[in-house]
Amino acid sequence: MRHTRSILTITLLAAALTACSNGTETTSSAGATPDKLTVIAHDSFAEGVDDSTFAAFTEQTGIQVDVLAAGDAGALVNQAVLTKDNPLADVLFGVDDTFLSRALDQGIFTEYRSADLDSVIESLGGSDPHVTPIDYGDVCFNYDKGWFDTAQIPVPSDLEAFKTDVYAEHTTVEHPATSSPGLAFMLATIDTFGEDGWLDWWSAARDAGISVAADWDTAYYADFTRYGGNSSIVMSYASSPPAEVIYAEEPLTQAPTGVIEAGCYRQVEYAGILAGTEYPEAAGELIDFMLSVEFQEGIPLTWFVFPANADAVLPQEFIDYTVIPDAPARLDPSYIAENRDRWIDEWIGVMEGS
């Protein structure tokens, strides 16, 4: 009796799961319009997707959009590379500068130039024709306003300041090998000080007492003075102060944290059509949609990054509670790809040598 029940349950669940499961199953109508497009993205993107995200697109085109979550950005690109002969999806979203080179070298994308590319913010443009910039995030030092008010010392405005104990002892950054903001900041120091000087800065910061956390969670929720830790300055995102206001326990009129413009690094995220998709045209339309003002204006409050479309209006919290740096650091993707390994090793050599 028990066995019959089990078999029945398995069958029912199998049916349920098959109904929910996704593959690259699109109806093979001999034309170019599928019923469904699949987007593969990193977890951070997937988590913000709900029924309304692509509803407008479905209305306009009649195409459903399914989203697959593929881990972090690195895992995402790697999966695409491993499956390039038989791609898992039609569109990939979430490749950033640090992984772009790998994606392009492995040839996972088909060329596509969106009609809306002209609306993209100038400094983000000029990217490879295989990908389209969709959003950008600035990795920046965040500081605890309350702590600085009490301590009565000025907020640092220059990376040189971190060579002194006063600031370094209360600063946490993340490890570049295991954390995306950690990597971004390391690249920022390379851009700022050049290949000849960046390690000196790190030596000095290390001697002055800078802390390194394994990941963003530890840095932000354990080390940040805002949450009971010792560091009043942590490497986080320019979008963190608005998030602090939006997700505050009691309504706030002022952001409890602020952004330090020195040392910011701009990460751009791209979308691309996966080579091998059956529906490149429809996929192109989807990318156009993601670049449209309508979609772009929903980006900040869903994913806490900034829209690439210059015409998109930012939500009030993003205007009031943070700054968008004028000249954040940025490095060329292929330059990053060539040297990242070596840079991380050198960084470890300096930081672990203490």
Binding site: T9, A46, G48, Y221, E249, E352
Partner: protein, 516 residues
């Protein structure tokens, strides 16, 4: 009996196909893919690999030993005595085992434990105490008290009885528990990453770096093979040791626990309270922070980004349930084969089933991506989730059912045959019912593991359904006091669910047969 041979083939088909398709085949594909490109790098790299491999090994051994020592007092207490709330204690001690590493990591870091080998070891002990307590106590309570009494009559003191009578009899269970703890700590990832700072890296962390961050597949594949060899070696040694020291003990049905009296009473209370308090310290951080505001109510409200957090509970339950069914089916059949066939085949079969516990999650995940597009394209399917979880759960079901299968008196099988039961009916009427309760114990454990951890499925593409650990991770990944508070509340919910499920399963058990 010759007739059984076809039966063996039939029974072994299911586990062989499952492990073959969801483990061996993906592993083979990803490793050959990795190695087909250039070989591993320069001598500098090899030196670091040696350092990493050595660290992985000794921290796993040390973690295992420490876990045994820390778990010993509580194991003694729950094995020897009956007391009110004993079941609750067993359920509570299981909670740490299923918590996601990111949650535990946050709790430890909040307490100031980080960047040290001590923190890593402490976290390992915290996670794995349950394994030792449950595995060893199940056997301990079944040891015939007559043996210990005979020793006392012959003049042995309490401690001597323990060392010379009890401990040797417990060796199989201690070995079983040690092997599982070793596997988990050998492949430890999140704990080492978060609590080790950047000074420490295990093979698993290194494989992640190579495979994901650097996409150096050949190196990652080489590391994965080294890891696999290390794990296989340890398991093989354990299996042989088990056979050599398999002492025949008398198995009493039911337990041999008694009420605690006199000095033993104080010891028992100290052991129970002390261990639970130690385990509670990190958890108390979670609990206290979760009550800072109305986070629990917010779990039921729709968050603009992640939706309604408690909806992840239903998803988790579904996946865990399917994983449990899969694991039970595969595990019971595998256990039948293992106990029915003796010798090399069964030993290697048993070992192979344990391998997924000791294989890098990244390797399995990427293996899925590369391999599972034939005969069906399962690569982005929801089926990957319970399948990956079942891979990890099968060894628990096997561990639970093998001792029971072995302990069914052959006379009962013979009596059934004399009364007219064919070999298949003997299996169905005698083995299966007795095993099914033990299997439920292992299955229950499989269920709670699946609730709280994802492992390999972190590295595969999957439909966008949030489970509890994913929901916790999402909440923890964004700034804001509310996000953090909700993550803590969600973790407490997970902990309570675990305790509840374990309690329910313990209550439904038939006697105390089987491990876990």
């Amino acid at each position: 009996m010759r007739r059984i041979r076809w039966g063996w083939v039939a029974v072994s088909v299911v586990p062989v196909v499952f492990i073959g398709y969801f483990f061996a085949y993906p592993l083979f594909r990803i490793l050959t893919l990795g190695l087909s490109e250039m070989g591993a790098g320069s001598t500098g790299l090899q030196a670091r690999l040696f350092k990493v491999g050595w660290f992985t090994l000794w921290q796993a051994v040390l973690s295992t030993v420490l876990t045994l020592l820390v778990a010993a007092p509580l194991t003694w207490a729950v094995s020897s005595f009956d007391f009110k709330g004993r079941r609750l204690v067993m359920a509570l001690v299981t909670v740490p085992f299923v918590l996601p590493t990111v949650v535990v990591g946050t709790a430890f870091v909040a307490l100031g434990w980080r960047d040290s080998i001590g923190a890593i070891l402490a976290a390992h002990v915290f996670f794995n105490v349950a394994v030792v307590v449950r595995t060893v106590s199940t056997l301990w309570t079944r040891i015939d008290p007559g043996l210990e009494e005979a020793a006392r009559v012959l003049g042995a003191s309490g401690w001597t009885v323990f060392r010379h009578v009890t401990l040797p009899l417990l060796r199989p269970a201690i070995a079983a528990a040690s092997s599982i703890v070793f596997l988990f700590t050998f492949t430890s990832f999140g704990v080492v990453l978060i609590l080790g700072g950047f000074h420490y890296a295990t093979l698993e962390v290194e494989i992640y770096r190579q495979a994901v961050t650097l996409f150096d597949l050949p190196l990652a594949a080489s590391l994965a093979i080294v890891q696999l060899l290390g794990v296989t070696g340890a398991l093989y040694w354990y299996a042989r040791y088990q056979e050599k020291t398999a002492v025949a003990w008398t198995l009493e049905r039911g337990s041999n626990r008694r009420r605690a009296r006199g000095r033993a009473r104080y010891g028992m209370v100290a052991a129970v309270v002390g261990t639970l308090a130690a385990l509670a310290v990190p958890l108390s951080v979670l609990v206290s922070r979760s009550f800072d505001s109305d986070f629990y109510t917010r779990l039921f409200m729709a968050d603009p980004v992640v939706g309604v957090p408690v909806s992840s509970v239903w998803n988790s339950l579904t996946f865990a349930f399917v994983a449990m069914l899969l694991a039970t089916l595969v595990g019971v059949m595998a256990a039948t084969v293992i106990t029915g066939r003796s010798g090399q085949i069964s030993r290697w079969f048993d070992l192979t089933l344990m391998l997924p516990l000791g294989t890098s999650a990244v390797t399995i995940g990427f293996g899925f991506i590369v391999a599972l597009d034939w005969p069906f394209d399962l690569r982005a399917s929801a089926w990957l989730v319970p399948s990956a979880q079942a891979l990890v759960a099968v060894p628990f079901v096997v561990r639970a059912t093998v001792p029971t299968l072995r302990s069914i008196p052959s006379e009962e099988r013979e009596a059934a045959a004399v009364l007219g039961a064919s070999p298949f009916r003997v299996w169905r009427e005698i083995d299966l019912p007795m095993v099914s309760r033990a299997a439920m114990v292992g299955a229950g454990f499989a269920f709670v593991i699946s609730l709280g951890e994802f492992g390999a499925t972190s590295f595969v593409a999957r439909p966008n359904t949030a489970t509890i650990p994913i929901m916790i991770f999402r909440l923890l990944s964004r700034p804001g006091a509310v996000s953090f508070g909700m993550a803590m509340a969600m973790s407490v919910v997970l902990a309570l669910m675990t305790a509840g499920v374990v309690l329910a399963i313990d209550r439904a058990r038939f006697g105390e047969l089987g491990t876990f």
